[in-house]
Symmetry: C2
Subunit: 217 residues, 2 copies
DNA sequence: TTATTAAAAATATCATATATTTTGGAAATT
DNA sequence: AATTTCCAAAATATATGATATTTTTAATAA
């Protein structure tokens, strides 16, 4: 995937965010301007802009006169994020289902198909596909909420989802067939427009997800 | 209230945010760096940091190569924000009540007392107290959620609440005794730890709030 | 009116300079 | 040995000026 942004700032923003989510920049790591300047080859002013944005997103913490560092992780934070994700994603899903239409159903089906492809690869222990799997997992869940007809809700979900994603990449592992079945059920209940059941599966899905957290905080 | 921040950036951030929320910087207004530089007496680099942060918060929109402008307002956005506020604030309130304790009950009582003072002033048409009233209204609602034991939830609520506040100051007016009664009921049900009823009042309170939006979008 | 285009304005980025604050460790004190 | 004091080095905060690009404006041509 080639850079789709023009500006240095936008590209570097994506790079740093990715490095935080993927754990290349470890939690609590001090983000020294001069160091980043060398590593990302951008000016300090541009970097400060980027870190300011990231602190708004919650991936970076800023302290006056002390500077920036990567947001910490903790088990309690993970639980908070998971609960928030259940709240937001369920809520959005409800509206997506109310607004359900053939277009959306089609895109959901498509998203699930692609996700399932990578799930099967991972079942066969092709762990090098992990990053692709996460990508399609994200896309599937984004699609779930996309039809809710509230941009604020979609934006919010993306934010929370990214935070959850960070934990997944840091401390969670592929759960195997359990997760696969949940995705399938989720799809089916959505196509049936059965919110109650879909919601239950979704909640279970997210809750099951964090049980697999290894205790390496 | 004297500036409690040291840095120019922090102070100017608060100023610009306030100017957006209070409508001194109108929706869709282009935020030209040079103009801001003159008005707020800060350098362009500092301003870009600030605007980057505000775009993360959703008060400013950023477009590559085009720069920054004040986020637009619309009736549909207001409705989205209100719904989101109901969702988040109710959810947080539920946990606040579950964790209820004398300390929190005391602070809630105190917050309501102060709010009520200003509500009564406004009833007597002392409209110059409007900004104080909003301040104590904010504090009361912040107190409602403060006991939920989830920092993520508290942060999120603050963000949404500020967006709602902006609409209140731009297009909404004081509803009078209806709002006052709702606050009182809310307090009472909270002290009784009756989530169901408290939640109903809260939802009603927020819904009633946006009915008063005049159509000047 | 619409399209074209050149000039002006504004953004994006970087480098550099200065003042201030924080940090890390040496030296002094308890 | 532990704590405090104090200074130099590192890092942050802010401002300014320079340059390349991009967008906007407005004048001109079709």
């Amino acid at each position: 995937m080639i850079d789709s942004y023009k500006t240095v700032g936008e590209n570097t923003y994506e790079m740093i965010k990715k490095d935080i989510i993927f754990g290349n920049l470890k939690p609590l790591k001090k983000l020294k301007l001069n160091e980043l300047k060398n590593n990302y080859k951008t000016s300090i002013s541009t970097l400060r802009e980027i870190l300011s944005r990231l602190s708004g997103d919650g991936f970076v913490v800023y302290e006056e006169q002390k500077g920036f560092y990567v947001s910490p992780v903790s088990e309690s934070d993970l639980k908070e994020i998971a609960n928030l994700r259940i709240l937001i994603e369920s809520h959005a899903l409800k509206y997506s289902l109310e607004n359900s239409n053939p277009d959306w159903e089609g895109s959901l089906l498509a998203a699930h198909h692609k996700l399932n492809l990578y799930e099967n690869k991972l079942l066969k222990n092709k762990t090098e596909e992990r990053s692709n799997w996460k990508r399609y997992d994200s896309e599937f869940h984004q699609t779930l909420v996309r039809n809710c007809n509230s941009n604020n809700l979609i934006e919010l979900h993306k934010l929370i989802f990214d935070k959850y994603l960070r934990y997944q990449l840091l401390v969670l592992t592929f759960r195997g067939s359990g997760s696969i079945e949940e995705h399938k059920k989720l799809l089916d209940y959505c196509l049936e427009r059965n919110f109650k059941k879909a919601q239950m599966v979704l909640e279970e899905h997210i809750q099951n997800g964090i049980i697999h957290a290894n205790k390496s905080f």
